[in-house]
């Protein structure tokens, strides 16, 4: 699908710097070979998170350069073989105060944007629609609350065959191996969508990297999260909490469509909603979106 991004992505293997540049390139649908860094994703939230990530990363790199730099300088300069004579001092109050206070300040600098982003992410109010997500061993169930549309979503058949021990099928030959499902979650773009997330058996976690967050699905409890996707596209993720033997095999696919297309899709689903929606799930996966 998102072929046009591939070029931008390839370059990303050049280094972290390139990934920063790639901010302008949107839509980060699937992981790329040799990918080094997180992607900025396709929501305002995910971009905030990405920037936060880059900020703390570079701060750590900078501190690392200073600390390791001093250390290597010492190791090169003050060797016995170069005739270094050891000093005898063993403390220095000024230095100790400095290297206690400066880290505190740096931490404040990190905590501030982190707090802001977090507060924004926590606000699930004013959503235009709500999707209920339920984790099962080992598939997902989506329910469009108030719309009477619900279905199961599990690993695509091709991948399921290839992933068996000794299947003889080369995973490279399966498109989106382990990242494809029979029925993806379809959502509208530019709409604040609230998710209510739970599980039926054990704990799972719903995670699509391009959306910028993951949230655990806890049996008996509802967790809330929200997203507002800017770019139409197909975004892939996986269950992110160990949930038993097929934890590695319960992917998530989100297809974001412009509002009109989404409405049409929803109407279609409702129409097809004759007798049992869940029965559709059992049928072989018909379409790939």
């Amino acid at each position: 699908m998102m072929q046009k991004e591939d070029m931008g992505m390839r370059k990303a293997k050049g280094g972290l710097g390139v990934a920063l540049m790639a901010l302008s390139v949107s839509a980060w649908a699937v992981p790329e070979r040799w990918q080094l860094n997180m992607t900025p994703g396709v929501t305002a939230t995910s971009q905030d998170v990405f920037q936060l990530h880059m900020l703390i990363l570079w701060i750590c790199v900078a501190i690392g350069i200073v600390v390791f730099g001093a250390m290597f300088y010492a190791m090169i300069k003050f060797r016995k073989s170069k005739g270094a004579v050891p000093a005898t001092w063993s403390h220095n109050t000024t230095a100790e105060i400095i290297w206690t206070v400066i880290p505190v300040l740096i931490l404040l600098g990190m905590a501030w944007p982190a707090t802001q982003t977090l507060v924004r992410m926590a606000d699930t109010g004013d959503a235009d629609m709500t999707v209920k997500i339920t984790g099962y061993q080992w598939k997902w169930r989506y329910e469009y609350l108030g719309e009477d549309v619900k279905f199961m979503s599990s690993l695509s058949r091709a991948a399921d065959e290839a992933r068996q021990l000794g299947s003889g099928i080369d995973p490279n030959s399966v498109e989106n191996y382990l990242l494809d499902v029979d029925r993806p979650l379809v959502v509208p773009t530019n709409t604040k969508i609230r998710f209510v997330i739970t599980a039926d058996d054990v704990i799972h976690a719903w995670w699509v990297p391009a959306l910028g967050w993951k949230q655990d699905a806890i049996p008996g409890f509802i967790n809330e999260a929200w997203t507002e996707i800017e770019e139409p596209g197909t975004y892939r993720g996986q269950c992110a909490e160990l949930c038993g033997k097929d934890h590695g095999f319960m992917p998530i696919v989100v297809v974001a469509k412009p509002r009109a297309e989404f409405d049409a899709w929803l109407a279609e689903q409702k129409a097809a909603n004759a007798p049992a929606t869940d029965a559709v799930v059992q049928a072989p996966a018909p379409t790939k979106s």
């Binding site: 209920k132 209510v196 739970t198 008996g220 409890f221 509802i222 809330e224």
Partner: protein, 292 residues
Amino acid sequence: MGQATASSNAYYVPHASVWPIVGSVALFLLMSGAATLLNGGSGMGLLKFWLGFAILIFMFFGWFGAVIKESLQGLYNSQVDVSFRMGMVWFIFSEVMFFAAFFGALYYARIFSIPWLGGEGDGFATNQLLHQGYEAAWPTNGPDNVGGFFETIPAWGIPLLNTLLLLTSGLTITLAHWALKVGQRGALIFWMSATIVLGIIFLYWQAYEYVHAYQDLGLTLGSGIYGSTFFMLTGFHGLHVTLGTIMLIVILFRCMAGHFTKENHFAFEAVAWYWHFVDVVWLGLFVFVYVL
């Protein structure tokens, strides 16, 4: 083995001892027997379990026997005594933390999970979508009424009585200690016996209460979170009272055998500390499990 005389100032380092390895084998048998039993195995499991148990008891007799003998020989100087005291204090601290886990579970359930399930605070959607009609309350056996209807044990009956019993026993053991310190053997034995009797009465009422809960009140381990926290907390406490009582009995015999002097009676004190600890835990239980 030790060659030291009572006057020696040395820190006593015992020589090779077989008891630790015996104890390890015992624990291994006990635990793997218990696990086998839980998994539904019977013969082998029972055998391992009881064999382990028996060896463990044997080990305690042997080990403590050796310690008592060394102590009577005067091999322990006051520094050794301090090591023993530290050992006991930190052991009791570890027990406190063990109970803390269960108290933590109780508080967590009452402060967080039950209100959430009932729709308070962040739990609005939880209640609305998953547990409609469930209202946060305590006691509770959860949205699914796990274990069915049950009643609780009122705090002001047997539990209050038990509180008074344990508090009194705290007093009697202190009197016994005082008697020991002033060298009144008769009073010592009397107060020790009184403490033991109080402990046994406590255990009797506790057992009575359990039977009552299971037979008449419908309150069991399976009565949702209330039953779980109730029985785990009171149950582990009861187990500790049982152990404490056994320890007191042993100490009583040692008092009668004249093992302790006015100055030197660490074993007595250790058991007294333990008893006070059990006492304090009970006060916590009484307040948080029964009253509140």
